[in-house]
């Protein structure tokens, strides 16, 4: 069971690295798609089939299509390396290290010495998620939907300005 976790985790990390280090925008976008799909694989092992499938549909299947679409339309070529500022050069690595250390500490405090097995009391079925979403978390859910509506209206207003 855990061998699959290590495979998916390795793919996720490698693809994420490739996304950042890649100079061609299309390759970066594709690496991000691989990251999202292999994360869905990790969700599957936690028994969260619904989350995994939704992750693929929403992020890899819808949002990333738009990314790739824009990159294709702009026909963006190779990225030209810019001369980074001295501050970024000297502070970048230590800051990343500090951030990682903080994250690790928080995770260690949150989940002390777990065995790596999926928590048995969590139900990842659509029914359970639906009850949570429209029961306990109905306010955040509705606020998010209003936020998205506002963004859509804003986009329409901006696009319609010329007419």
């Amino acid at each position: 069971m855990s061998i699959f976790f290590y495979i998916f985790a390795a793919i996720t990390v490698l693809a994420a690295l490739n996304m950042v280090l890649q100079r061609t925008p299309v390759y970066s976008a594709l690496s991000l798609i691989v990251v999202l799909c292999s994360l869905a694989g990790v969700y599957l092992q936690l028994g969260a089939e619904f989350m995994a499938v939704i992750q693929v549909i929403v992020y890899a299947g819808a949002i990333m299509v738009l990314f790739v679409f824009v990159i294709m339309l702009l026909n963006a070529g190779h990225e030209t390396p810019s001369h980074r500022s001295h501050i970024a050069k000297w502070l970048g690595a230590p800051l990343i290290g500090a951030f990682l250390a903080m994250m690790l500490m928080v995770i260690r405090d949150q989940f002390p010495a777990t065995t790596g097995a999926a928590p048995a009391h969590l139900d990842g079925s659509p029914l359970a998620i639906g009850h949570l979403l429209f029961g306990n978390y109905v306010l955040p859910f509705e606020v998010t939907s209003v936020l998205i509506l506002v963004a859509v209206l804003g986009a329409v207003v901006l696009a319609k300005k010329e007419f």
Binding site: V26, L30, I33, C37, E49, F50, V53, I54, V56, I57, A60, G61, A62, V65, L66, V68, F69, M72, L73, S125, P126
Partner: protein
Amino acid sequence: MVTFSDMTVLVIIAGVKVALVLLVLLTGVAYTTWLERKVVAHIQSRWGPYLVGPHGLLQPLADGIKFILKEDIMPLEADKIIYWLAPFLGFVLAFLSIAVIPFGEGFTLYGHPILFQITDLNVGLLFIFAVTSLGVYSIALAGWSSNSKYPLFGGLRSSAQMISYELSLGLAVIGTLMMSGTLSLRGIVNAQAGFWHIAGFNTWMPHWYIFVQPIGFFVYFTAAIAETNRVPFDLPEGETELVGGFHTEYSSMKFAMFFMSEYTNMITVSCLATILFFGGWHGPVFGPTIVRIFLPVFWFCLKVFCFMFFYIWMRGTLPRFRYDQLMSLGWKFLLPVALANILVTSFLIAWHG
């Protein structure tokens, strides 16, 4: 007497099932091309393929050999990795979605239950939608990586088309899902067993969702045709405008892979239409046990075949849409109709309890 552990038995059953489904599917895809050429030919008062084998029945085999032997040409300026990746991606994704399709009820062999389905995922329907939504990349990337004008246009067109129609496709089936109360395809089929009863009176009409969700079915199938890039929505490969669309620069086996994934997607979409609206494998079952086991599979295949025939019939009959007509049909007609269908269905379900 050889005894196997449960795990070995599971692996063997799964392996046999995967091999069998792949074999049937590949044969089905091959003979769909034959059927398409034959039916379209007869619609146009021609004979169609007639030379290779009786009634041209060996034509798919000849086509396959031809594809393998053709020279594989790659454009000089193409993005090599993505150019290679695109057809394989489309092929794999097209075949992946068949894994959750239930073909029949199943039976018990020496105490091991064997389902006519590779795996029964409890979010089977969403799995298929996820896989199809990834299928866009195959076409978009093929168009982009060829580094040529017409494929790029074809790729852009098809990604815009597939994103637009995915919405209607997803919304059209929600009525069915609300009535069956499950996302498992097996569960949806099981919910359609028996007959419709109106106020305790048996109407002898099969309990299929097409009778209560005709609008949902109409929206689903229209969107599905657009999603599989078929006539009358085959703008991504409109020959008169785009040469061959996204696969213009592809030749040999890589072209054949696009071809095969398109036909596999047609089969998947037809299977889904059968499962969601036409009662899956349900039909009159009679006779001895062995017939009782395999008759449902026959009904399922017959229903899928009817849809495939309908696809081909439409190709022989309808002209191609214009691009703006396609977009306004998707966004201004199908989407509102699908939403209204959800609204009405949920009201009726709430009314009847």
